[in-house]
C-alpha cells in the first residue's frame, strides 16, 4: 500500500469515528468525555467539525510532499487535543508504512478507535526506536527534552513543542468577536492553535470594546457547548489569573471563563487554558510581536484584509488562518509550521 492509500484509509477510519451512527462513532461519543474531560457537546463538535475527514487532493499532496521517507516511525502523542492523533498518524503514515504509536496515558481512547477502524499502525507501551528510525513527538517542551536525552544515536527526532494561537483584529467588530469565540471553545483551549490572546490594532478603548464583545459571545458559546472538566492545575492558574487581571487590567466574566483587557498594550501574555482570553491594544506596526513570534503557532485574522500580510510579516513561521477557523486547519502536514526540532 503506498502512502496515498495509507492516508486515504486513515481518513476513512476517521470518517467512521465522526459518524454518530457508526458503532465506533457511538463508542467514541460514549468514552471520550471521560478520557478527555471535555463536555459531550465539545466532543461532538470536534468529531463532526474539526476532525479532518474531507481533505482535498491538494492538501493530501502537500502532506505527502512534506514527508521524509523512513523505515519505521514512532509517534509519541500528547493528550491536549484528542483529534490531533489523526494528523500525527497521517504524517507518520506519509513517511512510512510501519508506524508505532505511544498514546497518552490520559487519553488513549481516540488512537485506539482509530487503530480499530484502520488497522494501519500498532501500539507500544514505550517508545523503543532502533538506529535509523524516526520519532515524531508531540508534547510539552519538558517532555520533549527528556525524550531527546533517551533516544539512541542515529534516531531522527521531529519534536513539536508548546505554542499557542493569537487573534489579530483591526477593529472591535462583533463579527470578529463571534468568530474568535468559536475558536476558543474546541478542546477547552488546550490546543497549540487555540487563541490565548487577541491583539486589537487600536486604542485601549477599542480593545475594551472588543473584550466586551468577545465575553458576550463566549458567554453564549459556553452555554451552548459547556466547558468540561479542568485539571486542578488549570483551575488554580485560572483562579490566580482572575485576581491578577482584576488588579492589572479589567476582567469580563463569561460565566465559566473570563476575558481580560491588558491596558498596558503591546505585549503577549497568554491567558490560562479554559476558554480565557487576554485582549491587548497595539499600534498598527506590530514590531514588538516579532520577539515573541517563535511561540505563536497560529494567527487568526479577518481574511482578505491587510492584516493577513501583516501577520505573515511579523510571524513568518506561524500559520495565518481566517478567524473562526483557527481550529480547522487543513490536513496538509503538521499543524505547527514553526521550525521543528530535528535531532539525530
Amino acid at each position: 500500500m503506498d502512502a496515498r492509500a495509507r492516508i486515504s484509509k486513515l481518513v476513512a477510519a476517521a470518517e467512521r469515528l465522526a459518524d454518530g451512527e457508526d458503532p465506533l462513532g457511538r463508542e467514541a461519543r460514549a468514552r471520550l468525555p471521560d478520557s478527555t474531560g471535555l463536555s459531550a457537546e465539545n466532543i461532538e463538535l470536534a468529531l463532526t467539525e474539526i476532525l479532518e475527514t474531507r481533505p482535498s487532493a491538494s492538501e493530501l499532496e502537500e502532506l505527502m510532499t512534506g514527508a521524509v521517507a523512513a523505515a519505521h516511525v514512532h509517534v509519541l502523542l500528547s493528550s491536549n487535543v484528542f483529534v490531533a492523533a489523526h494528523r500525527a498518524i497521517a504524517c507518520a503514515l506519509a513517511s512510512s508504512p510501519r508506524v508505532t504509536v505511544r498514546a497518552s496515558r490520559r487519553e488513549p481512547v481516540f488512537p485506539e478507535l482509530l487503530r480499530r477502524a484502520s488497522g494501519l499502525f500498532e501500539f507500544a507501551a514505550e517508545l523503543c526506536p532502533e538506529p535509523g528510525d524516526e520519532v515524531h513527538a508531540y508534547g510539552s517542551d519538558a517532555t520533549l527534552a527528556e525524550l531527546r536525552g533517551t533516544l539512541p544515536e542515529s534516531v531522527v527526532l521531529r519534536a513539536h513543542g508548546a505554542g499557542f494561537g493569537v487573534a489579530l483584529v483591526g477593529e472591535a467588530s462583533r463579527r470578529a468577536a463571534e468568530e474568535l469565540a468559536r475558536d476558543l471553545v474546541p478542546f477547552d483551549q488546550r490546543g497549540c492553535s487555540s487563541p490565548r490572546a487577541a491583539i486589537v490594532l487600536g486604542s485601549v478603548e477599542s480593545a475594551r470594546e472588543f473584550a466586551q464583545h468577545v465575553s458576550a459571545e463566549l458567554a453564549r458559546a459556553n452555554r451552548r457547548i459547556p466547558l468540561g472538566r479542568l485539571s486542578a492545575d488549570e483551575l488554580a492558574e485560572m483562579a490566580r489569573a482572575r485576581s491578577t487581571w482584576t488588579f492589572a487590567g479589567e476582567l469580563f466574566e463569561t460565566g465559566s471563563s473570563f476575558v481580560a483587557l491588558d491596558p498596558m498594550g503591546e505585549r503577549l501574555t497568554p491567558a490560562p487554558v479554559g476558554r480565557n482570553l487576554i485582549v491587548v491594544p497595539s499600534r498598527p506596526d506590530l514590531d514588538w510581536l516579532e520577539a515573541r513570534a517563535a511561540e505563536v503557532v497560529t494567527i487568526g485574522v479577518a481574511f482578505g484584509s491587510e492584516l493577513e500580510g501583516l501577520a505573515r510579516k511579523v510571524a513568518p513561521s506561524a500559520r495565518v488562518v481566517p478567524l473562526g477557523r483557527m481550529q480547522r486547519i487543513p490536513l496538509d502536514g503538521p499543524l505547527d509550521r514553526r521550525p521543528t526540532l530535528v535531532a539525530r
Binding site: A236, A239, S243, E250
Partner: protein, 358 residues
C-alpha cells in the same frame, strides 16, 4: 487626608507595631492598610471590591505575585519611589518590581526579626560577610539592601565585605577575613544564597575554612530548578563541616522581593527564635496561611497549600500576597515545600547565579 499623609501615618503605626508599641492589633492595621490601598489605587479598588465586608486580614483578597511582573503594584506615583527592588529574571519573562516610597519601615522590619533569629547573644558585635555581589546604587535587589543593613547595624566596620565580584567568588578575600576574625576572636555572620554556598563548596573541593566560635551562616534562596541541586540536608552537612560549625548555626532565611518582611528558621541556640530545622517563623507583623490553590481559601494546619502572606510592611504595595510557593503551616511556623507546578523559577539564588554566568 492626602495619600501621602495617610501613607506616612500607616508607616508610623506599622513601625510602632514592629517595635511592640502602640495600640494597633494585626487585623485592624491590615484592614486599614487595605482600605488605604483601595482608596488610592484603582487596581486595589477593583480587587478589594468587597472591602466594606472585610472583618479580618484573612478577608483581604491576595494579589498573586504575577501582578508584579505585569504592572506597577504601588499606591504611590513612580516619582515618589526611593527604591525599586526587582525579582530575578528568567529567559523570556519580565522582571517583577516592588517599588518603595520609603525604606524606613523595611529597615525596621528586617533588622528587628534578623536580630531575633541570627544574633545570640543579642547585640554582640560580629563581622558580617556577604557571599554576594556589592548591591547597585540605588539597590535593585532586596537581598542586597538587607545585607547592607546587616553590615551597617550588626558589624560596625566602615567597609562592607562583598565576596562576589565580576561574576567570581573572592575566595582569597574570604580566607583573609576569616583569618582576621579568628585572630581577633570576633564571631562572623556569613550571609549567602544556597547557590553561592554550592559554588564555594565546589571551589574548596573539600578544604575547610573554620569560622570563629559562635559564628552563624544565614542561608537564603533555593535552586529553583536552574543549577546543580544539592539536597538541603546534605548541603547543611557539607557547609557545617567546611566551616566547622554545628548545623544549628546555619539559619535559613525566606524572603521574596514582593514582601517587606522575612521569615527565619529558629535553630540558632541562644537566639530568641526556637523551632526545629525546616520550620520558618514569621514575625508578628506577617501572617502566613496555606491556601487551596483553586478556592484560595485557608487550609487547616498541616495541610499543604500555596503560601498566602499578609505583610503589614507592604503599606504602599499589596498588603496580601499570593505566591507560588507550597507551604504547610505548623504550630510554630511554616514548612517550605518548593514551588507549585508551572511556576517560573525565581529567587535570590537566581540573581547570584546570573551574575556568575550560570
Amino acid at each position: 487626608m492626602s495619600w501621602l499623609e495617610e501613607s506616612d501615618e500607616l508607616h508610623r503605626r506599622v513601625r510602632s507595631f514592629v517595635a511592640g508599641e502602640g495600640q494597633d492589633d494585626f487585623d485592624g492595621l491590615a484592614l486599614d492598610i487595605a482600605r488605604y490601598q483601595a482608596r488610592w489605587s484603582p487596581g486595589f479598588g477593583r480587587l478589594y471590591a468587597e472591602r466594606d465586608a472585610f472583618r479580618c486580614a484573612g478577608d483581604v483578597p491576595a494579589l498573586p505575585v504575577d501582578a508584579f511582573r505585569l504592572t506597577r503594584v504601588a499606591v504611590h506615583p513612580p516619582e515618589a519611589d526611593v527604591a525599586r527592588f526587582a525579582t530575578s529574571g528568567t529567559t523570556g519573562s519580565e522582571r517583577g518590581i516592588h517599588a518603595f516610597r520609603t525604606l524606613e519601615t523595611y529597615s525596621a522590619i528586617a533588622l528587628r526579626w534578623a536580630e531575633r533569629a541570627l544574633l545570640a547573644p543579642p547585640g554582640a558585635p560580629r563581622v558580617v560577610l556577604a557571599l554576594a555581589p556589592r548591591p547597585e546604587s540605588p539597590p535593585e535587589s532586596s537581598l542586597g539592601f538587607m545585607l547592607q543593613l546587616f553590615h551597617r547595624h550588626f558589624d560596625g566596620r566602615e567597609r562592607a565585605t562583598w565576596l562576589i565580584e565580576d561574576g567570581a567568588l573572592k575566595l582569597d578575600a574570604l580566607e583573609r577575613e576569616l583569618d582576621s576574625a579568628r585572630q581577633s576572636g570576633e564571631r562572623v555572620l556569613l550571609c549567602a544564597t544556597s547557590f553561592a554556598l554550592v559554588l564555594l563548596l565546589d571551589e574548596l573541593q573539600g578544604r575547610r575554612l573554620p569560622l570563629p566560635p559562635a559564628s552563624v551562616v544565614m542561608q537564603t534562596g533555593g535552586f529553583k530548578g536552574r543549577v546543580r541541586e544539592v539536597e538541603p540536608n546534605q548541603l547543611g552537612s557539607e557547609v557545617a563541616k567546611t566551616f566547622t560549625i554545628p548545623k544549628s548555626a546555619i539559619v535559613g532565611e525566606y524572603g521574596m522581593t514582593e514582601l517587606t518582611s522575612q521569615l527565619y528558621e529558629g535553630t540558632l541556640p541562644g537566639a530568641a527564635l526556637a523551632t526545629p530545622p525546616g520550620i520558618y517563623v514569621p514575625p508578628p507583623w506577617l501572617s502566613v496561611t496555606a491556601v487551596d490553590p483553586v478556592a484560595l481559601e485557608p487550609l487547616p494546619e498541616g495541610v499543604e497549600g500555596l503560601a498566602r502572606f499578609v505583610d503589614l510592611g507592604n503599606v504602599d504595595s499589596a498588603v496580601a500576597i499570593l505566591t507560588m510557593d507550597r507551604v504547610r503551616a505548623t504550630g510554630s511556623g511554616v514548612e517550605l515545600l518548593g514551588r507549585a507546578p508551572g511556576a517560573l523559577p525565581r529567587g535570590c539564588s537566581l540573581a547570584v547565579e546570573a551574575l556568575l554566568g550560570g
